[in-house]
Amino acid sequence: MIRLVFTVIAGVLLGGVVHLVSVLALPRIASQDAYSRLSAITKLNAVTALPVADPGNTLMPYMDPAFATAICRYDLSGGPIKLAVPVSQAYTSVSFYTRSDVAYYAINDRSAGRKVIELNLMTEAQHADLPEDEDITAADRLIIDSPTSTGLIVLKALAAEPGLMPLAQASLAAASCKVQTDAPQAEAAPPPPAAKQTGPVPKR
């Protein structure tokens, strides 16, 4: 009898361990999470407009039908991403999600404070590799550190009335999200100007 009680206690304790491990493992093994659902219909490192939420569209639960939505699925292994989103009439926001759907950063048009939300997205390693002077010129461009090398950027524009939906979609259609190809050139560029600067000096 005592042995049975011990068995049950041991089972319940072990069950606690199973519970903790499975809760922590669930985001990794889930095959129907938002990233997996979206990766089938979105292009990598480019902006893909999502269909407007309606009853027939079961892409994701709890989508806001008042918003035009576009997705940029990113992979930073080829270099940092440059994102530019023109601000729509009503409200525009840009949210960043990791591969496991953690919302690590979000910004809206007012906190960006401009007509175009411009961001550079890079991994922490790429940020650390930025040359010092580049960092100063980048001060007016917002740099976001991504905790993972892949993830999602969700662009949203509010259509305050249903009739304004085409306008909101049009403003998102003008958004761009691409790998920063000029980054290696910028790193190669500093030596030539230095040579030019030393060049003119003797002439003076």
């Binding site: 068995t7 199973v18 926001s93 979000a106 906190s111």
Partner: protein
Amino acid sequence: MRLIFITLLALVIATAVGLGATWLTATRGTDFGTLRIGAWTARPKTGTADVDPYSRASIARAGDLPIGQGDGVAFLATTDDRKKPLDGRCDVVVSGVTPAARFWTLTLYDLKGRLVANSLQRYGFTSEEIIRSADGTFEVRMASRSRAGNWLPTGGIERYALMLRLYDTPVGVATRTPRDAPMPAIATAGCP
């Protein structure tokens, strides 16, 4: 023989208890960091990098993208203020004011988070299109048949959920009391 039996029993109990608890927390959710105001609940922390593991599990299972904290916050209600489940065959009135926010949207979903089909293609209201009374308060009526004023069709479904999303708002992780965030009241006005 007996040892094997006991070990097996312990393992079976462990699996049942462990996976059962995980399933429960992933489908029903947990109370960690949950903000309750009236019938409305929100989990502002799900929009930040320090989201708790239980919320992460339920987000991964449901397949939605939580609204980021710099974007806004989402409040969900599945009952009225008297804890009566929202019934699409009844008249339900959402009235009052909303917390400070640049924009908000009120949307009606079924319990799986899908929009409810209706001939008007009206699934919710935004703060811009709602009709308000002179003192700035508003009243939205959820009903299966058309109503005067702000009418949100329920399609006559048995159970539904309302989601109030605030965009560009100070409401968030630091919000504790209803005074910080005065949410609209939800009342069932009558069932046929």
